[in-house]
Amino acid sequence: MSTAFAVDTHVVTGNHAVSHGARLARVQVISAYPITPQTQVVELLSKMCEEGELDARFLKVESEHSAMAALIGASAAGARAFTATSSHGLALMHEMLHWAAGARLPIVLANINRSMGTPWSVWTDQNDSLSQRDTGFMQVYCESNQEVLDSVLQAYKVAETVHLPVMIVLDAFVLSHTAEPVEFPSQRMADRYLPPYQPRFRLDTSTPAAFGGLTTPENYMELRFKLQKAMERAVNEFQVADEQFNQIFGRKYGLVEPYRVDGADLLLITSSTATSTARDVIDALRSEGRKVGLLKIRLFRPFPSDLVRQVIAKVKKVAVIDRNIGFGVGGIFAQEVRAALYGYAQIPVFGFVAGLGGRDITPTVIRKIVDYADSRTEQENLVWMGVRE
């Protein structure tokens, strides 16, 4: 392998893995407003811009709403656009998230999962990103810092193919502020994977046109239909992008990742960093002879229902760990899984809510979840783990 394809390993935090992913993607416009625990992402990017390591315009703006608004303009003008935010910042962006997706702009946003207030909190849970479920953003939940960096590159690949924005999601502190070894591919490898963005439409004053104008009922629905079709296509495009990534970088993640599912009766379903802990627990339980397997869901939007169903077809019972709560119903991943299974499989899907507001999801908590589901036959929609009732 020539030096141009050499790989350097660095010990970096999840936040800085995001920054390096954006650098390797050669983003051209970054617009952001600082918020804990995201700030380090754009801090490093601004430094890269200042020092000339990254040839991008860095826009300081007065709010997250403006950050996304600026990227909508930049992306419409044909630039590869990037931002990062968290929690309340993402909530403030909400209106613009709809706009970016409706305008079919391949913007990539990194969201560091942080609990919503009140009460005030800076620690992780998924309610901020899952509240943006229906904006038209694709969502990728990451488990490791390497996956974070790699997912930024994959995100642009898919976004620019199906013309939809992507949200890369990682846990506050558990990933954002925790350093681990990450391979940095060379720029040449990244360029080979991700060529420059070629927009289909372009905001250009020399060929003036109006974007996003008033659209009457005769046409609006067709545009929504096309957006949904793009989402559906994205399931396949993510798999293609992951496979191409594997060919160049020698790593792949899948949209879902089954672990020790063969011969399992109970399937545990996780997302984000809880997966790593669960993997260890599964190993321990397997060595004790327990028939339990694991499924990590990486892609939340579009939801890879077929892949989830294929894995679940092999088991008798499912336990979903949700680090979020859809108030009035229960865990959001559990609902998605049940919806995917409805009409296909009639097995109990237990919904567990754990780790809200950054409370640790320890091996003990996961063991309790497995024991709880193992010992019961009737489905329970919502089980609170570790709550002092």
């Binding site: 409706g102 305008a103 079919r104 013309h163 289909r200 439409f201 004053t205 060929t207 003036p208 046109a209 109006a210 974007f211 996003g212 104008g213 659209t215 009457t216 005769e218 046409n219 067709e222 545009l223 239909f225 096309k226 957006l227 793009a230």
Partner: protein, 539 residues
């Protein structure tokens, strides 16, 4: 054109809502009720300059390295940039909009830089007489020569009459060479008289020639004889500050001995002390109020302190006696009382606080006043204008220049029989840039260049000039810090931010297409220097 489009199927549609042609038919200008206008405004530097020098444009020309153009521009307002570039009290800097960010623009040093380029390179040709009218100017200080400069360029015949041997008035008599080198002064005066001004020196009006004869021989007279009569506390034994400076400045430095006491707190007092220091004495300045009330400029006081001049406050001389060939001054201790008419706290004696100081020389510098005894009571005619310090009492060089300019305008109007004198300058009618219109957020802080100057130890034993001129690189860099308040410098902010793309760049400026300008006001909001104004439509 605007028409309803129904697509046969989703696959015929673009993926997002985008117009199928341009939107030029949609003249959004009809929505407008506010109209943006480019209205250049008065920058605080220019507004506060008594001479009204167009400083923002001078600085802009320096950034473009058009130094001679900058010189011609200054000289349209002020014939003495090499002088004011050294001794002006520079209100332009005090009011500079940049000051709160990272320090004011060193306008004075830039003016000096430009004057140096001008004196080196600019050529001066004689102006031919084109107007009927002869003007006598009594006094060749900054007021007199400024008036002469503007009149000669308008084609009047001008004669300047000076009582002293050389031209320059207070510039030559009162300002020490370490602040204003003689060579520079000579050059600058030549650059004024070179236009064809007739000069007569060693001619004191009232003694060598009568004022009546001037009235007979000239169509108009400008009296700019300055304020040279020193005030005195009449204690005997003291010499006048101005007389002392004049003697030294003309090469007749007196023997001052070891200890010199200077009484007073104005620039003359500080100059006298610093000159005495350079003659080898140990000067002590005694002022009856505190440092805060001193009329001398802070820069001069600070320079004196740096040089080790002993400054003492709150003491007033009571008596002077001769003792063993030396002089002994008894001072009365003072404290500050109520405000007086000048807005400063009045000194009030403290009982039993007398103290004495011995001296070889005592210099009194407690102020000067004009001497207009050569005028007669009937001289109040339109053809006679009195200006400069002769009218106001001791003031600054730049105020004298401003006065000379006004006098020239008055005389021109009088001689051209156009009636009233020009009393309102167009500058006074311009809109001043407000601090809110200057958006400092657009500018990154950048350290102000240090003006090169000789340290105290290198200057206390000579009369060499202390401050040096900026290098070209320094001048261009410092000029580059100028915000150009109120004056468009083609920064493109309006053009960039206009959401309608209704602003186009034309002929080094901008044009707003009112067919599409919605009057949103973003251009006015984003202009970092307050050039774009909004007015209501229909007004």
């Amino acid at each position: 054109m605007s028409q309803k489009i129904i697509f046969p199927s989703a696959s015929d549609m673009p993926s997002t809502a985008i117009s199928q042609g341009d939107m030029a038919f949609n003249k959004t200008g009809s929505w407008r009720y506010l109209r943006p206008l480019y209205v250049e405004k008065l920058a605080p530097c220019r507004q506060t300059c008594p001479a009204g020098t167009d400083l923002p444009r001078m600085i802009s020309l320096i950034t473009q390295e058009k130094f001679l153009e900058a010189y011609s521009l200054i000289r349209r307002h002020n014939p003495f940039p090499a002088v004011t570039g050294r001794v002006c009290y520079h209100p332009c800097e005090t009011h500079c909009s940049r000051a709160p960010l990272d320090g004011c623009i060193p306008v004075q040093a830039l003016e000096r830089f430009v004057s140096e380029k001008g004196l080196e390179q600019a050529t001066i040709g004689k102006v031919s007489e084109s107007q009927s009218g002869s003007v006598a100017i009594v006094g060749s200080g900054p007021a007199g020569l400024t008036c002469a400069y503007f009149l000669i360029q308008e084609g009047f015949s001008v004669t300047v009459i000076e009582a002293e041997k050389e031209l320059g008035g207070m510039l030559r008599i009162g300002i020490p060479a370490y602040r204003l080198p003689r060579k520079i002064l000579d050059q600058e005066i030549e650059s004024i008289t070179g236009f064809g001004i007739e000069t007569i020196s060693n001619c004191r009006v009232g003694e060598d020639v009568s004022f009546e004869s001037l009235k007979r021989d000239y169509d108009a007279i400008f009296v700019a004889t300055g304020a040279h009569r020193s005030r005195s506390i009449n204690l005997g034994g003291a010499v006048s500050g101005l007389g002392f400076l004049n003697a030294v400045n003309n090469g007749n430095a007196p023997e001052v001995g070891e200890k010199v006491i200077v009484i007073g707190g104005g620039n003359t007092a500080i100059d006298a002390a610093r000159v005495a220091l350079r003659l080898g004495a140990e000067p002590v300045v005694v002022y009856r109020r505190s440092r805060q009330e001193m009329p001398a400029t802070d820069e001069e006081i600070h320079a004196a302190e740096e040089e080790g001049v002993d400054l003492r406050y709150l003491a007033s001389p009571d008596s002077i006696v001769k003792k063993d060939g030396r002089l002994e001054v008894t001072f009365q201790g003072m404290k500050l009382g109520e405000m007086d008419a000048s807005g400063r706290r009045r000194p009030v004696p403290i009982p039993d606080s007398n103290f004495s100081l011995e001296a070889d020389t005592i210099i009194e510098a407690i102020g000067e006043r004009p001497d207009l005894s050569f005028l007669s009571a009937t001289d109040e005619e339109l053809s006679i204008v009195i200006g400069g310090d002769a009218r106001t009492g001791p003031s600054t060089v730049v105020n004298a220049i401003a006065s000379g300019k006004q006098a020239a305008a008055s005389i021109m109007h009088y001689l051209q029989r156009s009636g009233e004198a020009l009393t309102v300058s167009p500058l006074e009618l311009s809109e001043l840039v407000t601090p809110a219109q200057v958006k400092l957020d657009y500018f990154a802080a950048q350290e102000r260049a240090v003006i090169p100057r000789t340290a105290a130890e290198g200057r206390i034993n000579n009369f060499k000039e202390i401050i040096e001129t900026f290098s070209e690189a320094q001048a261009v860099q410092e000029a580059g810090r100028c915000i150009s308040c109120g004056v468009c410098n083609n920064c493109d902010s309006c053009w960039l931010f206009c959401p309608e793309s209704a602003i186009t760049r034309v002929n080094g400026g901008y044009q707003i297409n009112l067919d599409y300008c919605k009057g949103c006001g973003i251009c006015a909001q984003e202009c970092p220097r307050g050039v774009v104004s909004l007015i209501e439509e229909g007004i």
